[in-house]
Symmetry: D2
Subunit: 306 residues, 4 copies
Amino acid sequence: MNELPERLIPESPEPTLRSRSEGAENWLYRPITCLDHGFVYLVDYMGNDDAIVQAARVSYGKGTKRVSEDRGLIRYLRRHSHTTPFEMVEFKFHCKMPIFVARQWIRHRTASVNEYSGRYSEMSNEFYVPESSVLAKQAKGNRQGRGESLTAEQQKRVLALLKEDYDRSHGHYREFIDDMDFARELARIGLSVANYTEWYWKIDLHNLMHFLRLRMDAHAQYEIRVFADAMARILKDAVPIAFEAFEDYQLNSMQFSGLETKFFETHSWPMKPEAAEKEILEAFKNKRETQEFLEKLKKLNLISSS
Amino acid sequence: MNELPERLIPESPEPTLRSRSEGAENWLYRPITCLDHGFVYLVDYMGNDDAIVQAARVSYGKGTKRVSEDRGLIRYLRRHSHTTPFEMVEFKFHCKMPIFVARQWIRHRTASVNEYSGRYSEMSNEFYVPESSVLAKQAKGNRQGRGESLTAEQQKRVLALLKEDYDRSHGHYREFIDDMDFARELARIGLSVANYTEWYWKIDLHNLMHFLRLRMDAHAQYEIRVFADAMARILKDAVPIAFEAFEDYQLNSMQFSGLETKFFETHSWPMKPEAAEKEILEAFKNKRETQEFLEKLKKLNLISSS
Amino acid sequence: MNELPERLIPESPEPTLRSRSEGAENWLYRPITCLDHGFVYLVDYMGNDDAIVQAARVSYGKGTKRVSEDRGLIRYLRRHSHTTPFEMVEFKFHCKMPIFVARQWIRHRTASVNEYSGRYSEMSNEFYVPESSVLAKQAKGNRQGRGESLTAEQQKRVLALLKEDYDRSHGHYREFIDDMDFARELARIGLSVANYTEWYWKIDLHNLMHFLRLRMDAHAQYEIRVFADAMARILKDAVPIAFEAFEDYQLNSMQFSGLETKFFETHSWPMKPEAAEKEILEAFKNKRETQEFLEKLKKLNLISSS
Amino acid sequence: MNELPERLIPESPEPTLRSRSEGAENWLYRPITCLDHGFVYLVDYMGNDDAIVQAARVSYGKGTKRVSEDRGLIRYLRRHSHTTPFEMVEFKFHCKMPIFVARQWIRHRTASVNEYSGRYSEMSNEFYVPESSVLAKQAKGNRQGRGESLTAEQQKRVLALLKEDYDRSHGHYREFIDDMDFARELARIGLSVANYTEWYWKIDLHNLMHFLRLRMDAHAQYEIRVFADAMARILKDAVPIAFEAFEDYQLNSMQFSGLETKFFETHSWPMKPEAAEKEILEAFKNKRETQEFLEKLKKLNLISSS
């Protein structure tokens, strides 16, 4: 992985009085490969699980301070949306990804970013070529996802056409630059959104978890989920208690609307599937909301199978 | 209410091509009294329920556009945390509140604020004197709330001492200013956090709803809840569809953690109270989380009363 | 311009009690064409020059209120970086631009955005084809700009190759979608960054002026400058006093560093060019800073021509 | 200084692979006393001068990397408002200050904050009692500053009255809490804005420099300037190159408006004072702007003394 900024990797550890995370130290400068040419690695960090507790306790002044209570406090904070102490921990990543992934990523406005510039520098010949296995049809009933696979023949043709277009457009780009000295900021406009870019990305733990909740979701595009999953692996080691609470209270949680809790209160459980569907639809007067509630009830085993 | 900026109230309506909300128009320059000397009123607004739909639909390009589907779309957006279209609507309020309320309020960083300045201008003799009915003891089992009432005698004494302190410190302030021409920025440091301040506060609908969710909550201090409730009254008229969705999916919603949903799935409902408590505690190994889950289950009628 | 959301243009003005700007009203729903397929138009706005003054005066309480002083106050606020009152005015635009322009634009994080989605919807066949006149060589001595023109032959070849690539890649995209029902979120990755996208963009006046200062600058890429200039035209009419102050104190201002002001103080003016260059270089020990200072001095007529 | 969170001070340094600043390490957990009971100390940090350079260079890809050029690059970035690389460095402080100072401080919205809570915890008996030397009259010609000193007698009386009010109100507070078990969130409303509070405050270098530029300014209230100066001392050691550039291009810089640069260009320098004043007033038609320009010209020795 020749993109690593060699000069910056410290030859040996140096002493610090700062808060430290063993799990985070182990991930520094260790890239996780993402897609065909991409990566994510941890460049720097500030704080750890203790730093969250320390910040939260300033509210309580000289209150409880037993270390054994830290886990309970962190879970309490996440359960009750006391998010500010999680802003006290910071992560900085170096990431490389296709432009169409970068475009989704940058919509999260609470991070600091320094990106590679196609105005200053030449764009590489690296373009995202998907694995055949992810080439699928448009999903039914979901306007933005993927459904069943393309045929093997279709997959072959898609990859052939994409590669051909990448090659040709990059060939033209090189001709623009090398033969004409054409201004880089314009020469690159024929390159596709599959071309790779890279950036430094710095964000606090609260906002990173918000990003992960949206981008690890099954509805996020597969190609950005890969990057979110990579950062989640790092977080899990860097702030294990906070990450566990995040999994329990965000990733794996389930929410019920006011209409739904009212329906709960006024019925006996479990219900039979037909009765449930009929009565929910009557109460909600909306097919989609009815369907989503039914799915949650099934998952909770509150719809009897018989 | 002599604080109203008379000059700014338009004598008569003027024509505009902008999006318009009948409900919002009716609230312009109509203060809602809050606490003893405070108020909130709507100074200006941009957008309405349609503006949310309009912004959301830019994602879909030339997709569905039937007006009848607007309500469904707005509910869908809130249900699935698609919050950006709600940022497209903006409200501007003029508010007057005690300093200790302003201090909690300003913690929400996503608004624009212009506050009255005690460096430039003289502080008024208006201080918050609570109604007797809200003078209560420290809550048990909740480190920040209020519990049972003080005795009538205690209430009388509290109010007497507060008023006495307000009067004396403000008398000194006047002496500092009037007799000594003492710099205002220092003269005011003896005034209490019950002294009133005021500001212009501008915020988009997404962030306003986030503010309301936290500050209309039963755990918020009563004195800021009064202001949140006042703004909610205005919102309910200004963006009725969005507000209804907000009530259903945020204010009145209920969330279950991963641990809780797992417990759901692996048990039959309803459960008996003792069995439920015992088994949840065994699974969660945490008294507080057990208690909170039990309360939710009772609310949903999933704990049999017998 | 068939992209305009016809349904949303009000048939006739409606009465409002809100603050109103005659200049802004005239720009509502009137697109300014930008590049070959792009546009910017004003969708909605909140506030005007008066709203800035009104917010600023809340600091002063019941202070001066003569309308004749408004201009002086607005200029004072901008001169002394009192920026919060400018946040009280808001603009919402509908914009259509090539993806590479959108990528620079979105770096400004203080706006609200709803963008067209290539996951939900099909990408159009509109790609940016530059005018021949803007096809230039890489700038010398400036790593990101443009220098002298390409030859006529080179320009012809550039445009031919770009168009060919646009057509071929879009042909493949249509084949992916029409013949294979390939998922839209992947089918589009072969399309170039010259493909057009569009969005709703809402921002307050303070942050919009910050955006304009950076993107109207001679160092900004020509293709985004076109959009910045279009919005500046609208602002000039919408908030004429604030815009004039912005021009005087930001766009046309000149800044001198501590080193430079010190050099000023300790020399007599005007200086001869050779002496100036020699002495500045001695003082600054940096060629680039010397050169930039000399240019400013020449512009101010402080370097004698003889 | 018994407020220091003893448990958190590491007994000995630990090894880290993170970027490190010798100057910052030396300031960790070393409070700087501010006013009578306040302090600021560095709790944690991320990054150093190198981290700024590293982030900036991602734009250039595999460009210049000589260490000797770092200073030039950092100065270039600040000179041309390329501020994003400065966001890559982060500082976390523990601060204790009077409430009226905290109220000015919190207006900077780009930081993360966890504050001591008077709802959860009891307020201390620490109130800001100014030094006699800072007790001054309201400034003339500047609506928010201080002018000449109060008389010694006045100073004595001010301090006596302030202390008396502090004591009495805090006595009442203790009675409310100790004798009545009055809810803390209400019991504290009689305490003045001179009462001390404390918080954790985390901010990136770009935004910290913006804060310092405003709060180290001569127009900022003395009591917050003390805290800004303390943090500046720490920064100067932590990021020496960036701080020097900040001093040169922000703190000590001077700005000229478009009107002023135009006046420069069209006149010969130096000018005589009377002629300058007359001609500037004619050109500017504004007394205040004329006066401010004259002061800058005098500072630059462009007004001849004779």
